[in-house]
């Protein structure tokens, strides 16, 4: 269920990299844990994010959680649809529910993230 070509973080963000730019969202596991998302606070375009810096906040009926930048870089696009339709994060977390697009500063940071098989193992250990 988790896309093969994505990288995954321990905080349950995913990043899909194309042409030096990465699209970032939260995983299906994360959206299930959060429950119905009611608000997504996104950063402004042009924001410089450090590795693991909080890029925004997701508010669900249960909790308010930070979303962390899986890599460092500049925010080049923000999913503006989330303002009107935060439910996209629940309905299509790995697609239409993307949060930001980031211009990667240092590609080697991707090595710190997990592959899909490692992430699946990681989520299983989290559920226990």
């Amino acid at each position: 269920m988790y896309p093969e070509e994505y990288y995954y973080s321990k905080d349950h963000e995913w990043i899909k990299v194309e042409n030096g730019e990465g699209t970032v969202g939260i995983t299906d596991f994360a959206q299930k844990q959060l429950g119905d998302v009611v608000y997504v606070e996104t950063p402004k375009k042009g924001t410089q994010l450090a590795f693991h810096q909080s890029l925004g906040v997701i508010e669900s009926v249960k909790a308010v959680s930070d979303v962390y930048a899986p890599v460092s870089g500049e925010v080049v696009a923000v999913n503006e649809k989330l303002e009107e339709s935060p439910e996209l994060v629940n309905e299509d977390p790995h697609g239409k529910g993307w949060i930001i697009r980031i211009k990667l500063k240092d590609k080697s940071e991707l090595d710190k993230l997990m592959s899909v098989s490692d992430y699946e193992k990681f989520t299983q250990s989290q559920e226990e």
């Binding site: 009611v38 608000y39 009926v61 249960k62 909790a63 959680s65």
Partner: protein, 485 residues
């Protein structure tokens, strides 16, 4: 059941709840003619007296309160509040005092405030108390402001506040409002602050630590002295969120744990009504080092006289109009004086005993994630029920059908599907048994008929609310057009 209409929907043109006799003196001119007055409010409900009275009486009957039944809303300490406190506080001599009265005329009131400060200082083991904060989070904010003032005075301003993941949710917010960055400290497998994580993150950029003790898992931070040592060694201050003092009264003092600042919630621990927005009171206790920074004025004794001392050059200034919520302070003082030292100790022992009675009778069917002993509250989870598709929300909603208020759900976040349960000391064995029985029955229902839970509650006036829709598409006020839709 028939839905109670909104008062706007009862409205009928020309109806009114008052009748004034005609003006029988000559009116020379309209004294308020050059004051911008609102003559009409569009859409303001027009109703008769009987309609107003019946509308609000019917609504009041749908309410649930501590005077009616068991209220184990974890972290909120919804204990029963003795009516004598209300009686004392509602004396007209208190309510009728003007806050600008010169202090020689209100020595009795000042004595109440000073006496309460002294007793709270004794209970907490702190050097000085400020009664100004309006409620707990206001006390937290004041605490952060004091740390900032002190460190800036020392020429050592700092940026970060450390907060464990088992702290009260208001802590990060208070630090943030005071301009600090918040860094989270992890809990260890015992549900306590991870000392290693704390040591690694404590440095010269860190203003201090905000710690809730006992924490939101109901677990006493037994390493508190070590924790204070780690923070102090790098020049930081320790703020203790004392909202859970109901577990510690007369048993141990935060001052002896070496914390620098603590707030209390008079409206929890010291038994004054709360919920529904107040009024509360969140006194702050501090060490000698921080005392000069307390909000001004402070009450001082001079011989047998009491006076307001405004000559406080290091004070951060006022944080609230006048001197705090005076009537709440009176109720707390009555409570403390009636109980005395032994009585207060019995309060905490009773709170811890009741909580553990509930835990022991339920932990076989509701998971308790951390095995560490707990004090005045404990956090169950829905882990054993989840396989049957039943969540903590369903359990909480079903409890309403058993005429019990639900525990706090989904907090603290370190426990998935949390049901944070705090019975308090005022509950009888009979009420505790009824709660335990209801929880056991609900577990049974989860096995046999989970739909019953998923559609709960069935009995209260309002059925399951759509929380998601309420958050995504909130209707914040009545509008005329919404009548038609």
């Amino acid at each position: 059941m028939i839905r109670e209409p909104l008062i706007f929907e009862i409205s009928g043109k020309g109806k009114q709840a008052f009748s004034l006799p005609p003006l029988d003196v000559p009116q020379k001119k309209n004294l308020l003619s050059d004051v911008p007055l609102r003559r009409n409010i569009e859409g303001f409900p027009q109703v008769s007296e009987v309609e107003v009275v019946r509308h609000f009486t019917r609504l009041s009957k749908t309410n649930y309160c501590v005077d009616e039944g068991f209220y184990p809303l974890g972290s909120c300490t919804m204990k029963y509040n003795p009516k004598i406190n209300e009686k004392v506080a509602s004396r007209p001599e208190f309510g009728g005092t003007h806050p600008f009265s010169p202090s020689p005329l209100v020595q009795g009131n000042l004595e109440i405030l000073k006496r309460t400060e002294e007793l709270l200082a004794e209970i907490t083991g702190m050097e000085a108390i400020s009664l100004q904060p309006s409620a707990g989070a206001h006390g937290e904010l004041l605490g952060m402001m004091l740390i900032r003032a002190r460190q800036e005075d020392k020429g050592d301003p700092r940026k970060i506040v450390l907060i464990p993941d088992s702290a009260h949710g208001t802590n990060p917010s208070s630090a943030h409002v005071c301009g600090y960055k918040v860094h989270e400290i992890k809990s260890n497998e015992d549900g306590k602050v991870d000392l290693e994580d704390l040591s690694q993150n404590m440095n010269e950029d860190v203003a201090g630590l905000m710690i809730t003790n006992p924490n939101t898992l109901g677990i006493f931070e037994s390493d508190i002295k070590k924790i204070c040592e780690i923070v102090h060694s790098k020049g930081g201050y320790v703020y203790m969120d004392g909202a859970n003092m109901n577990a510690l009264l007369g048993i141990c003092k935060p001052g002896d744990m070496n914390v620098d600042i603590i707030h209390l919630n008079l409206h929890k621990t010291f038994s004054t009504p709360h919920g529904g927005g107040g009024p509360g009171s969140g006194p702050l206790g501090v060490t000698q080092e921080l005392e000069p920074y307390l909000p001004s004025p402070v009450i001082q004794r001079k011989g047998r006289k009491l006076f307001w001392d405004f000559d406080r050059p290091q004070s951060i200034g006022k944080i609230r109009s006048f001197y705090g919520n005076f009537l709440v302070v009176i109720k707390a003082l009555a409570y403390i004086l009636i109980l005395g030292h032994d009585g207060l100790k019995a309060v905490s022992e009773g709170a811890v005993l009741n909580s553990n009675f509930v835990r022991k009778n339920l932990e076989d069917i509701y998971e308790v994630k951390y095995k560490t002993p707990t004090l005045h509250e404990c956090v169950f989870s829905d882990k054993y029920q989840k396989d049957r598709g039943v969540s903590n929300i369903d359990i909480a909603k079903r409890l309403l059908d058993y005429s019990v208020h639900s525990p706090t759900v989904s907090f603290p976040l370190v426990v998935h599907g949390a049901l944070m349960t705090e019975p308090t000391e005022t509950e009888s064995r009979r009420d505790l048994d009824a709660f335990i029985q209801a929880m056991r029955k609900i577990d049974q229902e989860a096995k046999e008929n989970s739909d019953l839970l998923k559609q709960a509650p069935h009995i209260p006036y309002v059925r399951r609310l759509d929380e998601t829709r309420a958050a995504r598409k909130p209707v914040l006020r009545w509008k005329k057009e919404s009548q038609e839709t």
